[in-house]
Structure formats: C-alpha cells, structure tokens
C-alpha cells in the first residue's frame, strides 16, 4: 500500500510555491478589501481614540449606559 509520502511525492508539485502564494494573497485581500471602504472612516476614527481614555468606554454603549459622573479615586 502506498504511504502518504509516496502519494505526495509522486504528485509533481513543481508549482507548489506559486499556488501557495496565490491562495494566500487571495485570502489576504478578502480580509483587507473592507478596510478601504470609505463608509467606515468615522468608525475607525472612533476606534483609534480608544487608548486615550482609560476610564470611559467608547464603543458599544447606548447613551443611557454611560456613567453619570466621572469616577472618583479613593485610597
């Protein structure tokens, strides 16, 4: 019985590197296309500000869910 190594070895994958490259670039583009959509600009702008406020959540809130007052530090 032929082993997996025999089967793969006999399959003649001379263009293997190119096939791997093309497949990967395709998957990569699929993920990245949405990035260039102008409709998301405002969203990205808000997301990019996340590190600037350590205390107040910025995304995923409804207005009523915002804290009513700034938290006060205590010892």
């Amino acid at each position: 019985m032929k082993s997996l190594a025999d089967v793969v070895g006999a399959s003649g994958l001379s263009g293997y590197a190119i096939v791997a490259l093309v497949l990967f670039v395709f998957a990569f583009l699929l993920i990245l296309i949405p990035l260039v959509a102008p409709s998301r600009d405002a969203e990205f702008e808000a997301d990019g500000r996340l590190p600037l406020d350590d205390l107040t959540p910025i995304t995923g809130r409804t207005p009523s869910a915002q804290p009513t007052a700034r938290p006060q530090p205590h010892a």
Partner: protein, 748 residues
C-alpha cells in the same frame, strides 16, 4: 431608566511586579552579553567550563528575549489590556501564577544553561521539563487574557489587543511544535525531527519567535503607548489594521530564509525569500504610522525623553525591517550568512526597537504606577544619549566585522587560490571591531543601570498607600448590529456592506480562530512537503548512524555549545568547498536529532572535520587551543580530559534514538560495551602517538570519536551520489547494511 453600572478597579500591582522583573533581568541579560563580547575579544574571559562562551551565549539570548523583553511585554500587556477592555484582569490569582511561574522558568534557565543542559536549538535551548513549564505558564496567561476579553466592557477590540492575541496564539503553536522531543533523561531529550526537517522546524520557530515575541507584542505596545505619550490618536487606524493582517499573513512564511544555500530544498528557501521581501511593506507601513502619530507633537520630542525613546525605537524597527528582507535575498544572504552581519542586524532590533520601546514605556508608566513624579528627567535624557551612542558603536563595528568576514572568506588571489586559507586570519582581522563592540555594549549597559537607578529612586518617593481609582462602566449586552435589515443588491453588495467583517472583529473567539488558521495553514503549506516528499530529503546509502560513543561525543558537543561557533553545513560555493570540502547534502543529516548546522562561524565549519587530523591533535586542541593555533579565540576544554564519561547513560540514549527511527541494530542491546571498545581503541591511539595516557574513560575520547566521524560517511559511499533507497526514518529491524555500529570505528 438608568443603566446598571459595574464598579471595578485595574490591577496595577501585577504591572509593577513585571516592571521590576524587566529591570532586573535587563541588567542581567545585558551583563552576560557584555561578558560574551569580552570573551570574543579575548578568550581569557572564558572563566571555566560553566562560564565559557558556548554556555553563556544561549544564556544571554534567553535572558534578553524571554526574561527582559518577555517581562516588558507582560508589563505593557497587563497595563494596556485592562484599560483597553475596561475590565480588571480575569483572575488576580492567575496573574500572580503567571508572574511567579515565568520568573521560576527564567531562574531554571539561568541554572541549567551554564550547566550544559541544552537542546541545541537557538532560542529554544531549554530542556523538556522547562519547556513543559513554559507551556503551562503560557496557557495560564492565555486563559487570563482571553477571560479578560470575555468580561470586557468595551465592544471594540483595539488593534493592540489583536497584536496580543496573535502573539499569544502563535507563540503557543511555535513553542509546542518546535520542542517536540523524547526524553532520554531528567534533563536530556532528542528532537523528534532530524536533519533537514529539524532545521526547517527550528527556523520556522526561530524566525517567528522574533516575529511573535519581539515584534507583534511590541507593536501592540507601540499602538497603545505612543498615542498615550503623544496625547493624540494613532495616525491611521486603518493602516494599523492593514499592518496587523499583513504581518500575520506574511511573517509565518519567512523562516526558510535562515537556510539559504543549505541542504534545505530550494523551493522552500525561495518561498521564504519571497515572503520576506514582501514583509518590508507592512513593516514600513507600521513604522510610518508610528512616527506620524507624533504629527503636531514633534516639539514635545525635544523635551520628553519618553518620546525620544519611542522615536528611536520605531526608527530602529524600520531599519531592521528593511535590512531583514534585504538579508533574505539569496545573493545578499550568501555574503551575510554565518557572519557578524546577522548579529548586527539582530542588535539593531533588540537594542533599538525592543530596548528603547521598553525604556520609553517604563519611563511613561513609572510616574503613573508609583503615583509620583519621575525622579530625574535629566538622567532619562542621559540614558537615552549614552545608550544611543552604545547602539551606534555596537552596530557599526559589527556590520563592519560581518562584511569583512564575508568578503575575506570568499576572496581568491590571482592564482585562483583562497586568499585567506587559514580561518584564523579572518578572525584576527575582526579583533579591533570586537573591542569597539565591547565599548558599545558597555555604554548600553551603563545606560540601563542609570535607567534602573532612576526608576528605583522614583519608586522610593511613592505614597505610603497607592490610590486605586474606581472605574464605572456598563456591562456589554448582546451585540446587535445596527444594520440588521437585509442588504439589497446581491452577494457583492452584502460583501462590500462590511457587516460580516465588523461582526467577527467584535467576536474574540472567531477572530482568534481566524488568526490561528492563518498561522497554521501557512505553516502547514510550507512544512508538510518537507516531511512528505521523499525527494526533498534523499537518503544516502553510505550514511550510517553514529556509534554509541560518537553519539555520546555529539551530546558533549551540544553540552559545550560548540554549535554556537561552528557550523556543520558547507554551502555549494567554490570558496566554501575549497576551504572545507564537498558541500553538505540533505541525506547526510538524516540521523541528526537535533540538526547541528549552526548559524554562525566564529570558528571554521566542521562538516568535514573527520579524517583531517589525528586523535591526538584534537586532544591537544581541546586542552589548549592556543597551543595549536596561536591566535585562536576558542575557549579551552581541558576538563574533558579529566572528567569521566558517563557510560551508564549511553544505552538509554541509543534506545531513544532507535525509538525515533534511527536504525541502531545491535547497539540496542549492547551500546555501553560498544562504547567502551571504541573508547579503548581511541585512548590507545592517543597514547601511542605520544599523548596522555588513561583517557579511555574520559569525556575527550567520546568527543574525539564524534569529531573524527564528521563528514566521513559520504566519502565511503559513491562520491556523494544520493541514493534514495531507504526511507528517512527506517523502521526496525535493520537490514545488514544498516548495522555499521556493530563494529565500532576505533582508532581513527
């Protein structure tokens, strides 16, 4: 109706712990680095067998990578994750377990590496019990991290968190698969992979350890701490996402560029080069994004040491990620490989990118964590300039050394002979540059000591009790997309509507699985053919397993860290074959668990060492290298002539090798006796030649047996013609042709 608000506080105690560990291990790692720099400039600094270059070099790399940079990463991750997710860490107990577990691993490394316990794989030297501990601690860290994501109060996962997720997942995958081995003792194991496959796995790991331990987590820190320090958002959040996905997709393929012109199949090497060259785009995109974050704030750079450190760190990231792709181009690599050029490249990244990102981050964190002012801005400035000068001295001298080495090795004179046939000539030319490196390293270490002093003095002025701010935020409800209505216009409209993308960006589990798939699929694409296609690793009929004594000698070669200075891989270049002999074939290392091709030539290649010198020459050379080669920088190994060889462990080691598929024949039953027979013959030959007597039970006989065997099998065959007649890992029972070990090759 008022929404329910959770009250919580961040755990900064764990951040302070990791911060102090970063400072401590930074000094230790850099001090060891300075010692090994001195050892290369003057071998007198090799102070005994436990503190020789071969044992300290892995201690240096492990200390700076996993202890210094590792603790720095954890400092930043624990601080930023809690704030970006608006949640305390999932479990304080797990945080503490992570901290103490990681420090215990570092201490174990600091003890075992000088004692010679090593797997001989760069950045993965630690032996199997410590590897298991690393896996456990890493899983605990992952549980704590993902548990925090699960209870977060911020819907969007900021891009820094993406970088952390990719690092955690990929490091786990890399660590587990590269360290698969079979124990042969409490602190001894053999890799399950051999030769070409082991080399491939190691550099898949080695390159991606740099990528996912020293790059992606630090990029996460950059995307959090640079906006904080500049008090403005990152220049382009879109670009940061592009940066992330491009790195995740490309980095994992790049490893084979470490093995250009070796016995690795050419297609794999080319694929690695291709992806490495592409890496320059996202890396520079990230660098530009980092630097442009300071738009409108460049005036602050003049006044703020924190920003100075960040600017230089990001610039160093840009420099080293331009140089990396360039070095991966085969023609450039043919000059740079095995030389100090690679060391200079690594240190641009380590000292500039990792070291300065860490310094900037800690200078920014210290006043906030210790709730006081920084002790001295002047000292921080002093640290910056002294360390910058140190980096410049280090890298310029070592770039010069690397290029000098590479050019001298390949130089021919007008008669067509090697211009510098004695390897030592090329070594001697580097000595002034090695001393400049010592000066650079000293300056960098001095800066680090000032840094530690400054932070400790800051800590001393902390309040008697830290204030713990209470944060209030509503828990996250179930995510309901705004755009719930069906999108008209067919599949393309739905695709470009981007709802799908937005949705899985918010789902950490889905996101993590996608990252894991990208990493694993890329790895399998590259690795599997090397394991499955026989023609990639043709076996050679005349290549036989090492005898039991040679195997013991190989283990001593590993223990002493000889692979840190000597390669065993002759590339198919005329200047290499003229100097060392026939180029190395993939089939020659099919029984090498682990492979010992090396990555650097501080000394000459040893792939064809066997048969070049008599046994006594090796004894004298090991005892005192400078008695053979006056200017040699090799440490002495006189202890090998006095320490007894542990014959009792040989049988177990042969058995493990046999379990891994090495056709050991009779040796499975009588390895110890065979080792004694061969050792007796070698000791008699040494004595007959006028050497010392009584060496038959000493370690030196095993090492001589191994060195005398290196590269000789192929000469016994049909002049190196590959014969694909046996599988790479033949199963027992062995055929008669596979029983060379029944007659040890005594008296080489």
């Amino acid at each position: 109706m008022e929404a329910h608000l959770d009250s919580f506080s961040y755990d900064d105690e764990i951040v302070r712990k990791f911060l102090f560990a970063t400072l401590l291990w930074g000094v230790v790692g850099m001090l060891v680095g300075l010692i090994i720099a001195l050892q290369l400039a003057n071998p007198a600094f090799n102070l005994g067998q436990y503190l020789s270059f071969g044992r300290l070099r892995p201690l240096h790399t492990n200390a700076v990578i996993f202890a210094f940079a590792g603790n720095a990463v954890f400092t930043g991750i624990y601080y930023s994750t809690q704030r970006l997710l608006k949640a305390r860490m999932f479990s304080d107990a797990l945080s503490r377990f992570h901290f103490w577990g990681w420090q215990a691993i570092i201490v174990a490394a600091a003890l075992t590496l000088p004692l010679g316990y090593t797997q001989a794989k760069e950045y993965a030297e630690l032996e199997w019990p410590i590897d298991i501990a690393i896996a456990v601690v890493w899983v605990v860290f992952a549980i704590n991290f993902f548990g925090t994501i699960a209870k977060r109060r911020e819907r969007h996962l900021y891009v820094a968190i993406w970088f952390y997720i990719a690092s955690i997942i990929t490091v786990a995958v890399l660590h587990i698969f590269n360290n698969l081995s079979v124990p042969a003792g409490p602190l001894k194991s053999y890799s399950i992979y051999a030769g070409v496959q082991d080399a491939f796995m190691q550099w898949w790991y080695g390159h991606n350890a740099v990528a996912f331990f020293l790059t992606t987590p630090f990029l996460g820190l950059m995307y959090y701490f640079m906006p904080k320090a500049a008090e403005r958002p990152v220049f382009s959040y879109k670009l940061s996402i592009l940066h992330f996905w491009t790195l995740v997709f490309l980095y994992i393929w790049a490893g084979p560029h470490h093995l250009h012109y070796t016995a690795l199949p050419d297609w794999a090497s080319t694929l690695g080069m291709l992806f490495s060259v592409m890496l320059v785009a996202p890396s520079w995109g990230g660098m530009i994004n980092g630097l442009l974050t300071l738009r409108g704030a460049w005036n602050k750079v003049v006044e703020e040491p924190v920003l100075k450190f960040f600017v230089l760190a990001v610039t160093a990231y840009g420099m080293s990620t331009f140089e990396g792709p360039m070095l991966s181009i085969k023609s450039v690599n043919s000059l740079a490989h095995y030389t100090d050029w690679i060391i200079a490249h690594v240190h641009t990244g380590a000292l500039g990118w990792n070291g300065f990102m860490t310094a900037g981050m800690i200078y920014w964190l210290a006043p906030r964590l210790f709730q006081t002012n920084l002790y001295s801005k002047k000292l921080a400035e002093w640290h910056f300039w002294v360390a910058t000068l140190g980096i410049l001295l280090y890298v310029t001298s070592i770039y010069s050394a690397g290029i000098t080495q590479g050019l001298m090795w390949r130089a021919f004179d007008e008669t067509g002979r090697l211009q510098f046939p004695d390897f030592i000539e090329t070594t001697m030319r580097l000595m002034p540059m090695y001393w400049v490196r010592v000066a650079g390293g000293t300056l960098y270490l001095a800066g680090q000591i000032v840094f530690v002093y400054n932070i400790l003095m800051t800590w001393k002025t902390r309040p008697s009790a830290y204030e713990v701010p209470v944060v209030q935020a509503a828990p996250l409800g179930k995510y309901v997309p705004k755009q719930a209505a069906p999108v008209a216009g067919g599949a393309w409209a739905r695709f470009t509507g981007l709802l799908w993308h937005r949705t899985w960006e918010r789902l950490p589990l889905t996101f993590s699985v996608l990252v894991a798939v990208a990493v694993i699929v890329a790895s399998l694409f590259e690795i599997l053919p090397t394991f499955l296609i026989k023609s990639n690793v043709p076996t050679i009929a005349s290549v036989k397993p090492y005898t039991p004594l040679e195997l013991a000698g190989r283990d001593l070669y590993i223990r002493e860290g000889c692979f840190n200075c000597h390669s065993q891989m002759i590339r198919p270049f005329r200047h290499e074959t003229e100097r060392y002999g026939e180029y190395s074939k993939p089939g020659e290392s099919v029984y090498d668990h682990p492979f010992l091709w090396g990555s650097r030539r501080i000394g000459p290649d040893l792939a064809r060492e066997g048969g070049k010198y008599p046994a006594l020459w090796h004894v004298r050379h090991m005892q005192d290298p400078r008695s053979i080669t006056a200017k040699s920088i090799m440490p002495p190994y006189a202890h090998l002539l006095t320490q007894d060889l542990d014959f009792g462990t040989i049988q177990k080691r042969v058995d493990v090798m046999a379990m891994l598929g090495v056709p050991y024949g009779d040796a499975i039953n009588r390895a110890e006796g065979m080792a004694h027979t061969q050792a007796d013959a070698i000791a008699a030959e040494i004595e007959k030649a006028g050497g010392p007597s009584g060496l038959k039970n000493k370690e030196i006989t095993a090492l001589v047996a191994y060195l005398e065997r290196l590269g000789t099998d192929i000469k016994a065959g049909a002049a190196g013609t590959p014969v694909a007649q046996a599988p790479v890992a033949p199963a027992a029972p062995a055929t008669p042709a596979e029983k060379p070990v029944t007659t040890p090759r005594g008296g080489n």
